[in-house]
Subunit: 242 residues, 2 copies
Amino acid sequence: MAVNQSRAAAPYFLKCSQCSLRKLCLPDSIDSEGLAQLEEAIEPSAPYHDNQIVYEAEQCFDKIYAVKSGMFKTVTVDPEGNEHIVGFHLPGELFGLDAIYPGKYISTAISISTSSLCEIHYSDLESLAAKLPSIQHQLLSLMSKEVHASNALSMDQTAEQKLATFLLSLSSRYKQRDYSESRINLIMPRRDIANYLNMAPETVSRLFKRFQKEGILDIKRTDLTITDMRALTALGGCTGAC
Amino acid sequence: MAVNQSRAAAPYFLKCSQCSLRKLCLPDSIDSEGLAQLEEAIEPSAPYHDNQIVYEAEQCFDKIYAVKSGMFKTVTVDPEGNEHIVGFHLPGELFGLDAIYPGKYISTAISISTSSLCEIHYSDLESLAAKLPSIQHQLLSLMSKEVHASNALSMDQTAEQKLATFLLSLSSRYKQRDYSESRINLIMPRRDIANYLNMAPETVSRLFKRFQKEGILDIKRTDLTITDMRALTALGGCTGAC
DNA sequence: CGAACAATTGAACCGATTCAAGATGCGTGG
DNA sequence: CCACGCATCTTGAATCGGTTCAATTGTTCG
């Protein structure tokens, strides 16, 4: 069932003033004036249903987004028309930052389930960052983090390692937002997981089966329970920075 | 011969005040006072010989670096002791930015040939960025660019596509710095190219041979000449953002 | 219930790696 | 200046992980 879904509706994310964008001020900001300015700049968006577009590739870059609930994916389309999923975005995470350099979105952002967002104009965020060092630092830090995530994915790994690392990543990201780290709702289809990890859906299926046989996890459709975190970590190898 | 090497010694890079870090102010800064402050913060480093370490993984993060001449590589080592090359850094490029988030270097930076650097303390850069919006923007823009580069590498591609894209990347990066875009000095060993692209050195060798047979390029040891840029671009597919 | 789509499973296939050998280039010392 | 030795690069043949193709089962929803 919708394990995370239900948590996503928790009070914490209900008011935009408390959405994850506010965390840009944290952990060290005591500047309440700046905090107020930040909250002023943040706008809640209308709720999204399944498979709705937030922005499209090539579109002019103006805002960045924070996930309040549900899940989003960002996808690129190469000249031959093949889609490639660049990332999944969980509650509490930002997306759209990769558009800063070209000044236009390079990917298309799409909701995966019933979801909600907060938005902020990037120009507002930049001027706030100039005023508040902690925001500037958090922003740069976040970008740095994204570089790591991308680098980790580009490492040469077996399909087994990639899937293990992917699950561990989801687990730790949910944990960080106070969701369960062992029970995860994989709302995205297998096809999307496979696409993101650059493998065939069949391979994902076979691996899930093997992991289950080995007692590492328990999966039924979208409902995943990690039963042996230690074993999964061992498979993943270099989980984080590496 | 050392095609790029000789260019690297051109006057433009001789004085640190004109090294690539200064470009953080560009293209739009007219704030000469800020420019002076930036130049103040930048320090030239002693020259590096082949295979010397700039910083090591796990070391505390304090400075970022700009390549003045030569070439550097950043490498990570996974738990099993396998090295992985994260990037090559050409004259005019920065490295060390991925250390912002963890607050420590996650890779080891090593000179590939006789090379030189400029350094800047990251704390100085952050405070300058807070004062000068153009620097802040350039910095964020650069980070955004790095995300793209990593994402491009993590795309599912054949060995052929990856090598073509790699060569095109080198070409365009050299071109951007006013070096030749068609004649490139591949000072790094085949082993390193292969490692960076996640393939076996043998595959790199075979591909170079094929590219040569197809009249796309002319390579002898480290001396590469791209003879058919159009064909190479076609092979590369989604070169840039994708 | 039945149609449409998603996930699973099995068998053939292919790209790239691995292993093993040979060729080439390069620095060193005679 | 040539001969030697070491390291890198190249080349060929066997192997393997993962994909592709094809068929089956399972799930969702009108």
